[in-house]
C-alpha cells in the first residue's frame, strides 16, 4: 500500500532519512518508533507529499501510495487516499463546529451534497461522536477533539490513515479512547494505519508491524515482538523482557503474566520501604484549605497539602482535575483562598520576584516564558532577573545536560531542550519548591530518563520537587510520593509504590504484570528476583 523506494530526505546537508526502502501492506497497523529528532514526522509527512512539497526539504527516491507517486502529485491530490492527523487537533481545524469540520474535506473534494450528508452521518457513528455534532470545536475535551480530527479525515474515505503522536496531549483514559478507536478502524474497515506514538505500551499489542528509526538515517521494519527487542526506544515490557532474558517481547500485560507464570518467576519480598518524606519536622510548604475558583467553577476545592524538601512528588489526575490550577495557586500567581506558607512566607503576598525565589513553576506551555530570539539572550535576561552573576543560567543549563547552541532560536528547540531552558531559567532564582506542569509531553524514553535524573538531583540538593504527569511509568520511576486529584480534591496521597499499585488506572505495566506484588520498575524486578 505504502512504498518507499530508495528515499533520501534532508534539510540542508545532513539527510534525515538516508536511502530508505520499505513497503507497508494493505490493512496493516504499523507503529513508527524512534527517538525525538530521528525523523518520524518527516517520514509521516512524506507519505502524502507534505514533505517535500510543503516543507521545502530536498528529496530523492520515490514514495508511492496505492501506486500514486508524491513526485507527480501535490499533497492535496492525496486527500482521498491518505488521511493525515497531527499532534494538536485544534490547530488543524478550519471550521468551528463538529459537523462542518467533518464535511470540510468532502467539500474540498467536491463530493455531491446528498452523498456528503450520508457520509457525515456514517463518520459520526463510526467515531462515536454523534452526540457532539453541533458542539463548537473549542469546547470539546482533548480526546474528543482528537476523535473529531480523525473523523474529519475519515470522511473523505481514505485508504491510509497517518497519525503523528495523536495522544501526546491526552490523559490516559482519553488516550485509551483514541487508540481504541484507531485499532477498531484497522479491524473493521481494513484501513492501513501508520502511527507514531511515544507511549508504546498502549498500542504495541495492536501493531502488526513496527517501523523503527534508529536515528542514523536508516529504517528497520519488522514484527513488533522482534523489532522492539532491538530498538533503542524501550517500552517497559521490552525492558522487562531484556531483564528477564526473553527473546521475544511480550506485547501485552496478559502475555507477560502468562510468561511469568510459565517460567515460575517469583520475587523476593521487598526490602524495607524507602521513607517517602525525609525526616524533617516542618514541611517546606504547607497549604491548608486552599481553594481556587474560576467563575462558578471550583478548580481546587479546599486542599490540604504538605511538601518537604528533598523529595519528588507526582501529581496525577484526569485533565481538568485541577492540577494546573493547584500549581498556579501554590506559586501565588493564581488568586486563591485558604492559607499557604512556604518557608514561613505566603507567596501570594510577595512581589513576583520574591515569590519565584520560593516557588518556581515551569508551566505546561513552557514557551510562554520565552520572548527573545536566541537561547543566549534568554540566559542573560534570566541572570539579570534573578540578580545572579552572568553565566548562572547557562551553567544550570549545562548541568541539566542540555547541549544547546547559544544562538538557536528558542522556538526551534525540541520539546526537551525547551523544557530544559525554562527549567534552568526558573532554577536561576534558586526556588525552594520546583513545580513542573506536564513536563513529559513529547519526551521520548531516554529524555524521560534524563528528566527523572534531573529531578532526583534537584531533590538531593534540597529542593522540594512536584511534577504533574499523565505518564504512570514516569511517576513510578521518578517519584517517591504520589498525589491523585479528582475534581479539585485529593483522593489519594501516599508513597508512589502504594498509590500506584493500588489503582489499575494509575498502575505501571510492570506492576500489572506482577500484581499483587508491589513492584514498580524493572530495576526492582531485577533486584528482587530470586
Amino acid at each position: 500500500m505504502i512504498q518507499f523506494d530508495d528515499v533520501t530526505i534532508g534539510y540542508g546537508t545532513e539527510p534525515v532519512l538516508d536511502r530508505v526502502s520499505f513497503t507497508i501492506d494493505d490493512g496493516d497497523l504499523c507503529l513508527l518508533v524512534g527517538a525525538t529528532g530521528s525523523g518520524k514526522s518527516t517520514l509521516l509527512g512524506a507519505i502524502n507529499g507534505l514533505v517535500p512539497h510543503f516543507t521545502g526539504a530536498s528529496m530523492a527516491g520515490d514514495v508511492r501510495v496505492d501506486g500514486r507517486s508524491t513526485r507527480q502529485h501535490p499533497p492535496r491530490e492525496f486527500a482521498d487516499l491518505v488521511g493525515f492527523v497531527g499532534q494538536n487537533p485544534l490547530a488543524g481545524f478550519v471550521t468551528d463546529t463538529v459537523e462542518d469540520e467533518i464535511a470540510y474535506g468532502m467539500e474540498q473534494l467536491g463530493v455531491e451534497a446528498t452523498a456528503m450528508r450520508k457520509r457525515v452521518e456514517e463518520t459520526l457513528d463510526l467515531m462515536n461522536i454523534a452526540d457532539l455534532r453541533r458542539r463548537a470545536l473549542v469546547t470539546l475535551s482533548g480526546g474528543q477533539q482528537q476523535r473529531v480530527a480523525i473523523a474529519a479525515v475519515l470522511a473523505a474515505q481514505p485508504r491510509v490513515l497517518v497519525l503523528d503522536e495523536p495522544t501526546s496531549a491526552l490523559d490516559p483514559t482519553a488516550a485509551q479512547d483514541v487508540l481504541a478507536a484507531i485499532t477498531s478502524l484497522v479491524h473493521d474497515l481494513g484501513l492501513t494505519v501508520v502511527l507514531a506514538e511515544h507511549r508504546l505500551e498502549r498500542v504495541m499489542q495492536a501493531a502488526d508491524q513496527v517501523l523503527w528509526l534508529p536515528g542514523d538515517g536508516s529504517a528497520v521494519l519488522g514484527a513488533a515482538s522482534e523489532v522492539l527487542g532491538r530498538a533503542s526506544v524501550v517500552p517497559p515490557l521490552a525492558e522487562l523482557a531484556a531483564t528477564l532474558g526473553w527473546d521475544e517481547v511480550p506485547l501485552s500485560v496478559r502475555q507477560a503474566r502468562r510468561k511469568v507464570a510459565a517460567e515460575r518467576i517469583v520475587l523476593r519480598p521487598a526490602a524495607e520501604a524507602v521513607p517517602t518524606t525525609p525526616a524533617g519536622p516542618t514541611p517546606l510548604l504547607r497549604a491548608t484549605g486552599l481553594t481556587v475558583r474560576h467563575g462558578d467553577l471550583t478548580a481546587v476545592d479546599g486542599i490540604n497539602l504538605d511538601l518537604h524538601a528533598g523529595s519528588v512528588t507526582t501529581l496525577m489526575g484526569r485533565n481538568g482535575a485541577g492540577k494546573s490550577s493547584l500549581f498556579w495557586a501554590l506559586q501565588g500567581a493564581q488568586p486563591s483562598t485558604g492559607s499557604l506558607q512556604v518557608d514561613g512566607h505566603d507567596p501570594r503576598r510577595l512581589s513576583p520576584a520574591r515569590a519565584r525565589e520560593l516557588v518556581g513553576l515551569v508551566p505546561q506551555t513552557a514557551a510562554d516564558l520565552l520572548h527573545l530570539h536566541t537561547v543566549a539572550l534568554e540566559c542573560q535576561q534570566s541572570d539579570r532577573e534573578s540578580g545572579e552573576p552572568v553565566g548562572t543560567t547557562e551553567g544550570l543549563l549545562r548541568r541539566l545536560g542540555a547541549d544547546l547552541v547559544p544562538d538557536r532560536h528558542p522556538r526551534d528547540l525540541s520539546e526537551g531542550q525547551r523544557l530544559a531552558l525554562v527549567l534552568a531559567i526558573q532554577l536561576a532564582a534558586s526556588p525552594r519548591i520546583v513545580l513542573l506542569d506536564e513536563p513529559t509531553r513529547g519526551l521520548d524514553y531516554p529524555m524521560k530518563q534524563q528528566l527523572a535524573d534531573i529531578l532526583a538531583d534537584l531533590a538531593s540538593r534540597g529542593h522540594g520537587v512536584v511534577v504533574s504527569t499523565h505518564d504512570v511509568e514516569f511517576a513510578a520511576h521518578a517519584s517517591q510520593r504520589t498525589v491523585i486529584l479528582a475534581e479539585g480534591d485529593v483522593i489519594a496521597d501516599g508513597p508512589t509504590r502504594e498509590v500506584c499499585t493500588a489503582s489499575p488506572a494509575f498502575a505501571p505495566q510492570v506492576a500489572k504484570v506482577f500484581h499483587p506484588e508491589q513492584v514498580l520498575t524493572t530495576a526492582e524486578v531485577a533486584s528482587r528476583r530470586g
Binding site: Y11, G12, T13, E14, F54, G56, H371, H373, T374, V405, D407, R408, H409, R411, D412
Partner: protein, 267 residues
C-alpha cells in the same frame, strides 16, 4: 537542520499574494473609485442627482462592496498559496483581536499596526487583502458592520498595499520609515473618513456642513476648519499611537513574521 533560521536576517521580501497585470489594473480603478468615495463632498455638483441629499456615503456603501469583491476575488484567486491563506486568516484574527484594545469607539488606531507590519513582510498584495479581511473580521466580531465598513476596508486595504510598496530599508531606518508612514497613513485616513462622512454626520443644513453650491475650494476650506476644531486631536492621537506601536513593538513583530515567511517559502 543545517540552516539556522535564527541567524540570517536577509532582507528579501516574500510576496505572499502576487499582483498580476490584471490585478494591477483592477487596483488602479479601485483607487479611482476610492478617491471618489472619500472626497465626494468636494466634487459634488449642485445640479447632480445626489446633490439634494446627504446619502452619497450610502451609495458608496452599496457600490464599494461590489468593487472590493471583484478586486479581492482577483487577488486571492488562482495562484494563492494555502500557507499565505492560512497566514491571512491568522493575521486577520490578530487585527480583529487588537481592535478592541484601541481606545474608544473609533478605536481603529491599533489595527493599522499589524496591517502595516504584515504588509511590510508579505508584500503589497497581501497587505491589501489583509486590510479588507482584517476589518471585515473585526466588524463581524465586534458587530461593527455599518455603512462605514466598506470605506474602512478600502482605506485599510490601500494602507496595506502602499506599505508593501515602500522602499526597502533595514534596521532603524526601516522602523523610522514605517513609523513616519504610520503617522501619515493614520492622519490621512482620519481626514478622508471624516470628509466622506462629514455631511452625513452634521447634516446639510448647518453652517459647518458642506454646500455643493459653494464650490470645491470653499468646501475644502470649511472642512479643514471643521476638522481642526472637532477631530484633529483625535486623528493626531491615533497617528501617534500607531507610530508608537510601530517603534516599540514593530521590530519584534517584523522578526517573527520574517522568520515565518522564510520557513513558509510561499510557492
Amino acid at each position: 537542520m543545517a540552516d539556522n533560521p535564527a541567524l540570517p536576517r536577509s532582507g528579501v521580501r516574500q510576496d505572499a499574494v502576487r499582483l498580476s497585470p490584471r490585478s494591477r489594473v483592477l487596483l488602479a480603478v479601485a483607487a479611482l473609485l476610492g478617491a471618489l468615495a472619500f472626497t465626494w463632498p468636494l466634487l459634488l455638483d449642485p445640479g447632480a442627482t445626489l446633490a439634494g441629499d446627504d446619502l452619497a456615503p450610502l451609495l458608496f456603501a452599496l457600490v464599494l462592496p461590489v468593487v472590493l469583491a471583484v478586486v479581492v476575488a482577483q487577488l486571492t484567486g488562482d495562484d494563492l498559496d494555502v500557507k499565505a491563506l492560512a497566514m491571512l486568516g491568522v493575521m486577520s484574527a490578530v487585527v480583529a483581536a487588537v481592535r478592541p484594545l484601541g481606545a474608544g469607539t473609533a478605536g481603529i488606531e491599533t489595527v493599522f499596526f499589524p496591517i502595516i507590519i504584515s504588509a511590510r513582510v508579505f508584500g503589497p498584495g497581501f497587505g491589501f487583502v489583509l486590510g479588507n479581511t482584517g476589518l471585515l473580521a473585526s466588524a463581524l466580531i465586534t458587530a461593527g458592520v455599518g455603512p462605514w465598513l466598506p470605506h474602512q476596508m478600502l482605506a485599510a486595504g490601500f494602507v496595506g498595499l502602499l506599505t508593501g510598496l515602500l522602499p526597502r530599508l533595514r534596521g532603524r531606518a526601516e522602523i523610522a520609515l514605517l513609523a513616519a508612514w504610520a503617522i501619515l497613513a493614520s492622519v490621512v485616513y482620519g481626514w478622508l473618513m471624516d470628509l466622506s462622512f462629514w455631511p452625513f454626520m452634521v447634516g446639510g443644513e448647518s453652517t459647518i456642513s458642506f454646500d455643493p453650491a459653494d464650490g470645491t475650494l470653499a468646501n475644502l476650506h470649511r472642512f479643514v476648519v471643521f476638522n481642526l476644531a472637532t477631530s484633529m486631536g483625535w486623528n493626531v492621537g491615533r497617528a501617534l499611537t500607531t507610530a508608537a506601536l510601530v517603534i516599540l513593538l514593530g521590530p519584534a513583530l517584523l522578526r517573527i513574521l520574517r522568520r515565518a515567511a522564510r520557513r513558509a517559502s510561499f510557492g
